[in-house]
Symmetry: C2
């Protein structure tokens, strides 16, 4: 058997409000991924349909896998939906990779989506999001922005990072999004813009936060990739790890240890280290998360991640480009689509198809997609 | 490697309203399954945590797998939730079986739950349930009882079954539930009771329908079962199949073809036929479904399933006992728990631990767990 690889990817643009229904978005990316395959692939060739979605309270939409299978004519496919909070997409990739590696089918279609604009009030959408946190965090009414604010305060206290450092992540990712036609927030922001935006939970401000987003993305993953394209993007390794769900249960409140565990596992399996990757897509739901992830993924020593953004090392032109897509921060964060979209971005980048945001000489890419404040983290390594 | 088997099972009682929260129910069955293992098993031995749940609109509860893993001390487990409408539980079993067979861990904990009583009005819970149907069925406001009523009318028209035949399924399953301490509806009903209960969608009446239910169930599945118990219940084969999501898309509106496809696959893989099984748990969300399933599973010829219930062939003392637990109809249907609970029942039966409802000489059992009107069907064969 050849190695398992991504052979096609497709995405709607991400936006604050997509006029399509959840089903229309899902259908469009499923069909788009099939039609985009270089040598052609048809619904009947799909053995596995994995749907990634966070909450049916957003899309009012469940049991989506058989609907997709029926629509594309995948009459002998097996399908199901996975959910792991914001890491649903990464989890779908982990499962497709392992099920195909085990011989349970040859071609998998992954569809991730979220139609968050259906829920009009932020108090409502916050409640839905909070269902992914520890029951004690939920019962005291702590939204994610407050939980990430706790992480940020602790990190800043321990290591001396400043609010300006967080702002630099937003500035970088907004600038990257200007080059990405799929991005929801195509708006340049300055450090001053971020610092003067309203506090949502001190020290985090509105512009430190990823937006409520509509969007869908799809991948085709195959264990016979060369039948479908001459330039597949191979999955070198994929790992899911967990940490305690509640911040109060963790030894370090300002770490995302599940990401560290997943990254260590992926590096060990591949024999690679962080410097062997030329491009990274990571889960910057809030700016602080990206800085912590530099450390968890081993791009920086512990406590020094904020120096990387100060030194511009993770910018588009930097040594380790992170979130060239714009990231969750500016590309957007349609939850069930997010991890799927990260892999789509790396697929395009590693094939040299990323247009104005193409990273030069990108041979290998790494994605980190986590759920909640990091109770789940999926890391996947790709190579052209 | 030994064959993969269930080594422990646990369940809350099913009821119209469980005073425990969703998290308390989940915790209680996860811990119960660990503690019930004959030779002992600990959280740290669990490599895979799979959560089965239908809608977060019922339990306000997402991202449950890492929470379970943290609670039981499964620090190196990988976890995620699956959803496939009412077939989520069967899907979880399918995935655990295949992932363990592929060597991705040795012991899996499956937890299924639904806390349906959180949504107090039937109009609301119907809307949540309808999210699992085809978008066109959803948009015209057709609840599942109407969709199953269409199936029932078509079946009765074609084959001459009567409303009394449907009623006999309810009578049988209510009588079975009287012997099951876990059942939600412990109430004997007569054919007259069923026929005189109010129509909910002609020809289906209130007593043809499964109830809104709270409950949770858990299984431990292992690829090294003899380390955990001397009397494992082996999984011989498991299959997921699909049909078109909408009734209007199907060639036969009164069939559940996905169940037929899954059953045929399971019989082919095991070399067994329906008569090789001594006990069956099937998805009788409405009475008509059980009759159709006799035919889909090959217990009866097409169009003659209703004669089996007339002849009492599927009663507790009959040749092919079906839904000795009381079934969805009378044991109850806490959606995410349902498929998991079916397997738990077969585990107890095949180990001879089913007390007053023990089927004599039960060596092999078959479960059928479907979603919606049968867009997804999971069939699993077990053997002691």
């Amino acid at each position: 058997m050849e190695k398992v690889a991504i052979v096609s990817a497709y995405s709607t643009p991400y936006s604050m409000r997509n006029e399509m229904s959840a089903w229309e978005m899902v259908k469009s990316v499923a069909e788009g991924a099939l039609k985009s395959a270089d040598k052609g692939i048809y619904g009947k060739d799909i053995d596995l349909v994995i749907v990634s979605n966070f909450s049916d309270s957003f899309g009012n939409f469940l049991h989506v896998a058989p609907l997709v299978a029926g629509e594309i004519g995948a009459t002998s496919a097996r399908g199901f939906r996975v959910e792991n909070a914001c890491a649903a997409g990464g989890t779908a990739i982990y499962l497709a990779y392992n099920l195909l590696s085990a011989g349970l089918g040859k071609n998998a279609l992954i569809v991730g989506f979220e139609k968050m604009s259906n829920v009009p009030f932020s108090s409502q959408s916050n409640e839905v999001l909070m269902r992914a946190s520890h029951p004690e965090e939920y019962s005291v009414g702590a939204p994610y922005l407050s939980l990430y604010a706790i992480m940020a305060r602790e990190y800043m206290r321990k290591y001396g990072a400043k609010e300006e450092d967080l702002a630099l992540v937003a500035v970088k990712n907004h600038e990257n999004a200007l080059r990405n036609p799929l991005a929801a927030l195509k708006k340049k922001v300055t450090v001053e813009d971020v610092l003067s935006s309203p506090y949502v939970s001190t020290p985090l401000k509105l512009l430190d936060s990823s937006p409520i987003t509509d969007g869908a993305a799809a991948l085709i993953i195959s264990s016979e990739p060369k039948k479908i394209t001459d330039t597949p993007v191979y999955i070198l390794a994929a790992e899911i790890s967990h940490d305690y769900s509640g911040l109060h249960q963790r030894s370090e409140m300002d770490a995302i240890n599940a990401a560290r565990k997943s990254a260590v596992s992926v590096y060990r399996r591949t024999g690679l280290n962080p410097k062997d990757f030329q491009i990274f897509e990571v889960h910057d739901a809030f700016t602080i998360a990206e800085i912590i992830l530099y450390e968890m993924l081993g791009l920086s020593e512990r406590g020094k991640g904020y120096l990387m953004i100060r030194e511009m090392e993770t910018s588009f032109e930097g040594k380790f480009p992170v979130n060239v897509s714009g990231g969750l921060k500016a590309k957007g964060h349609p939850i069930g689509a997010t991890g799927v979209g990260m892999a789509a971005e790396l697929f395009w980048q590693l094939r040299g198809e990323a247009g104005g945001r193409q990273v030069k000489n990108a041979e290998r890419g790494l994605m980190e997609n986590h759920g909640g404040t990091g109770a789940t983290s999926v890391v996947v390594a790709f190579s052209r």
